[in-house]
């Protein structure tokens, strides 16, 4: 995990530093005439951009180890501070969305797999492929129109007092794609396990169908389901950026988008690093969970 984090920070640093064009000039240009060279020089000095690239990368890594991500070009606040302020809303949104996806998607895929080829199975799979093909922010826009503007049941945007009412629309919107994928994966995993030899053996020994399903099947399908959940967190974080912007949710994603349009590079770097870090932590947890569910894996 540590080498990956280092590699990612190097990659992000390279993308933002080696590419031609000065950030300072684009920062103060605003499309109006030429820049005053003195101002550019002064700002470069202030942000340490006058030093050679390798020195900058050196101090970037040293600061990173001390959890110092530098200072925002715009607000002059420490980036770490800005990120921590925004972290909780995003975490809340991501966890809520993934919980909805698991609670609905897994049972749906499970039920569909029990009677493959049935009407329910077909309907679930059509819904799943549709869910994967939808632009989620569009669905969010429509949900906003129906539930907030037309029916007035829920607030249309913002964080409110942090309560659940403001969370419902963004979380449900964000859950659609992982939900659809989980339903598909669960169905495939259960079908796969059902055709395995040990299930046939258990059946022929007269094992109760209910126990069979809940224990043997679930335990074996769980590995695939958990992998999907871990991997899906990545694209969930990506989609969260758009959904946060749509619902004016004060999380990391909207901070990232705002910083990108203002070219506030330290904040962009920091926000991306933080999102990658979360993703890696979640996948490490997933690896640990494998070994708990299926002890064979820890030996492999």
């Amino acid at each position: 995990m540590i080498p990956t984090i280092l590699a990612v920070s190097l990659l992000i640093f390279v993308i933002f530093s080696v590419i031609p064009g000065s950030f300072t000039s684009s920062l103060i240009a605003d499309g109006k005439g030429r820049n005053d060279p003195k101002v550019v020089e002064q700002m470069n000095k202030e942000f340490g951009l006058d030093k050679p690239v390798y020195q900058r990368f050196g101090s970037y890594v040293v600061n990173l180890v001390q959890l110092d991500l530098g200072q925002s070009f715009r607000t002059r606040q420490p980036v770490t501070h800005m990120l921590l302020e925004r972290a909780w809303p995003t975490m809340k949104l991501a966890i809520a969305a993934m919980t909805i996806a698991i609670l609905i998607g897994v049972p749906l895929g499970f039920v569909a797999a029990l009677k493959p080829g049935s009407l329910l199975d077909a309907a679930t799979m059509i819904a799943a492929v549709s869910g994967l093909s939808l632009p989620q922010f569009w669905l969010g826009l429509l949900a906003m129109y129906v539930f907030a503007l037309t029916l007035g049941w829920l607030p249309s945007f913002g964080y409110g007092d942090g309560g659940i009412r403001n969370l419902i629309l963004p979380a449900v919107t964000l859950s659609v794609a992982p939900l659809a994928l989980l339903a598909r994966t669960t169905r495939a995993a259960v079908l796969d396990v059902m055709s395995a030899d040990f299930i046939r053996t258990a059946r022929s020994k007269g094992m109760n169908a209910y126990r069979l399903v809940t224990w043997h099947l679930m335990r074996n399908a769980l590995v695939l389901i958990i992998t999907t959940v871990g991997l899906q967190f990545g694209s969930l974080m990506g989609q969260a950026v758009v959904i946060e912007k749509l619902f004016s949710w004060p999380g990391l994603g909207s901070l990232l988008v705002d910083s990108v349009s203002m070219r506030d590079i330290p904040v962009v770097q920091g926000a991306i690093l933080m999102i990658v870090l979360w993703f890696l932590i979640i996948n490490t947890v997933v690896d640990v969970l494998y070994a708990v569910i299926d002890p064979r894996i820890s030996h492999g």
Binding site: P135, T185, L191, G238, V241, V268, V276, F279
Partner: protein, 273 residues
């Protein structure tokens, strides 16, 4: 039955949308950009404006048709770039092995740990908005799966008899990689490519929606939705139709990709994972 259905239905949707996009001028009778007329602003769908009009009185129908050109270009070109990068890295890593293989595998892991939409966002931040930047940003960020598949098939094909035979005949490594190894993995690569096109179209819509992709007034489904958000209460049709267009296109590609996969390999059921 279902197998054929996916392939045919998905393919049909893709073909129809491609035709509508390529021959857009034949189907519309309003210019998507120039025919702005505030007298016609926010009209609901009617006989003249089939999908209604937007805040500046432009025809939503013609903007949706012209917008498909952006989405299809982005989907096809960026996915071609991705496939080329993935194949180049994957085949060479699997075939050559050693240090190069370790480097490529490491790079792939790093790529996989950055959510691709966020990576693309970062690249757009540097390159600035526009079609060219979109093609680069989306073409550089989604090749990891192609690379993985290409690497593992190259690895297993390497020890096959006919590859060994080609070696004995004195074929150069590059010739073996292109003529012996590449053709044998084209099926799965096509499947990933088709599904990836759908992802690229969704990503383009999201980036344009955020104001980082195609800039107005040029019609793109994503940027049309940015405008539509402001007037969702008065002109919902301006939001509904571009969204349906994205949905149908991506659905067509996903169905076609799924169908293609089932057709090529009935045993490979799970998607990507």
């Amino acid at each position: 039955m279902r197998l054929r259905f996916n392939l045919l239905f998905g393919g049909a949707i893709c073909l129809i949308i491609l035709t509508l996009g390529v021959f857009a001028p034949l189907f519309v009778h309003h210019d998507p950009i120039l025919d702005a007329n505030l007298m016609n602003a926010e009209l609901p769908p009617n006989a003249d404006f089939w999908f209604g009009t937007d805040s500046q009185g432009r025809d939503v129908f013609s903007r949706v048709l012209y917008g498909s050109r952006v989405s299809l270009t982005v989907g096809i070109v960026s996915q071609l770039i991705n496939s080329c990068i993935g194949l180049l890295f994957g085949i060479s890593a699997g075939y050559i092995g050693g240090r190069w293989d370790e480097f490529v595998s490491g790079l792939t892991n790093v790529m996989l740990s950055i959510p691709s939409l966020i990576f693309a966002l970062a690249i757009m931040a540097i390159l600035g908005p526009g079609l060219g930047s979109l093609l680069i940003a989306l073409g550089l960020t989604n090749w990891s799966w192609t690379c993985r598949i290409a690497r593992s098939s190259a690895l297993s094909l390497k020890s096959q008899g006919y590859v060994q035979a080609a070696k004995t005949l004195g074929y150069s490594d590059i010739r073996i990689m292109i003529t012996q190894i590449l053709p044998n993995m084209i099926g799965p690569i096509l499947v990933i490519g088709t599904l990836g096109m759908g992802d690229a179209i969704l990503a383009e819509a999201a980036l344009s929606y955020l104001g980082l992709g195609i800039r107005p007034p040029f019609p793109s489904w994503g940027s049309m939705l940015t405008d539509a958000r402001e007037l969702i209460a008065v002109a919902p049709w301006a939001a509904i139709f571009p969204g349906i267009a994205i949905f149908l296109t991506v659905l067509g590609l996903n169905l076609f990709g799924d169908g293609l996969r089932d057709y090529l390999d009935p045993h490979m059921r799970t998607r990507k994972a």
